[in-house]
Subunit: 236 residues, 2 copies
């Protein structure tokens, strides 16, 4: 298996960095090829702008997704985007490894999605969900949280983690056709002992070694919707 | 009322820019003071990093939120962050005006949240939700979407918009104690006629003129949770 780890943390000795290093070791041990995009180390630019396109369908008015489609076809995406697109094409599995910031990705990784999940390549029109451009590849989140496990749930103060992660799991990963494996969540990481961190890292190792036993998340099937993406009438 | 509009769009003549200009006009007409943070025009840096702190509690190991707390107290936040923090302090209402990218904010705005919603100022410990640091101030989203209204709902292809916006509405805005007004949503904007855009802009104008009639969203009350933020036993 070819694995791309997209990694973002602003402290090189962080727990997330340890997770990334452990994933490289475990996956290579199992015979997989691994490539890491270390976004902070790469000084990755997260800002989607006109500078992302070497040629323009409409030089006077920027509609970002339309220019993505044009530049992908013309081969004129900015080199930093094109390099990441090539890694996505190469990969069978993409692991997103990051600390949750405000129930989402740190901006540097959100911008990787904004710029690299290119319209015309990853999605477009009805090419979404089970018809998405990345169909056949898988993805997984490996995340850390400041909060504790009891703070998440239907009655818990922060609500259900699955709901808070929907924009990522469904709206980004499921949307482009990726098979989305259950996330690995490291709770309360900045505040626990070295020993407890070791246990959480062990848990991640086990998670990585048993990826093929995990049932992927379920998302809509485009076949259940008509040409305008309205639900088809059923049972009549 | 003092209003801060945090605005992000990479096309200066976009529909979002028209919404921003319209909001400035309508709100000033009604006697409010308005300040705009135009993130693309400011070339705002969205990447949370060690460079954000002029002094460090721990120079050897970066825990971003802990250094925010330290630098806020010491007055050593990076000047671009400090300037935005001052605007937040000044404002009674913050309007976030942006196109939805992947069910969330464009990275340049997500990074504004990551860097400006400073721990120790906006939140910390039990100072969240109705005890949050920005209690007494309000916030509202003014957003555009590529999708159409029928694509959002319990049975719709993209699910419920309210669920997809939870990380922002609850996880960012409600979390820091802001009174969150219902969002104004402009659907299908890149693909509709000039006339239809005019109608959507009219709708935004009406929305802005009647802000005081809109019931805010409801979030948890910290008083319903114990010192470890576990739900208190009720009815016993």
């Amino acid at each position: 298996m070819k694995v791309l780890i997209v990694f973002a943390h602003n402290e090189p000795r962080s727990f997330n960095a340890a997770m990334k290093d452990e994933a490289v070791r475990v996956l290579q041990d199992e015979g997989h090829e691994v490539v890491v995009s270390d976004l902070y180390a790469m000084n990755f630019n997260p800002v989607a702008s006109a500078a992302d396109f070497g040629s323009r369908a409409d030089p006077d008015y920027l509609v970002y997704a339309l220019e993505q489609r044009n530049a992908f076809k013309a081969g004129t995406l900015a080199p930093d985007i094109a390099a990441e697109v090539d890694k996505v094409k190469w990969a069978d599995l993409i692991v997103f490894n990051f600390p949750i910031y405000w129930y989402g990705m740190p901006a540097i990784m959100k911008g990787w999605i904004d710029r690299v999940f290119v319209s015309g390549f990853c999605y477009g029109g009805r090419r979404i969900y089970d018809k998405g451009g990345l169909k056949g590849k898988s993805a997984m989140l490996a995340i850390s949280l400041g909060g504790q496990a009891h703070m998440f749930g239907p009655e818990a103060i922060h609500g259900e983690l699955e709901v808070m992660l929907q924009p990522i799991l469904r709206g980004m990963l499921g949307y482009v056709g990726l098979t989305v494996l259950p996330p690995y969540v490291a709770y309360h990481v900045p505040y626990i002992s070295e020993e407890a961190r070791g246990e959480v890292l062990d848990g991640y190792r086990q998670h990585l070694r048993s990826l093929d036993t995990r049932a992927p998340l379920v998302f809509p099937s485009v076949d259940d919707f008509d040409e305008n993406l309205r639900p088809k009438a059923t049972g009549e």
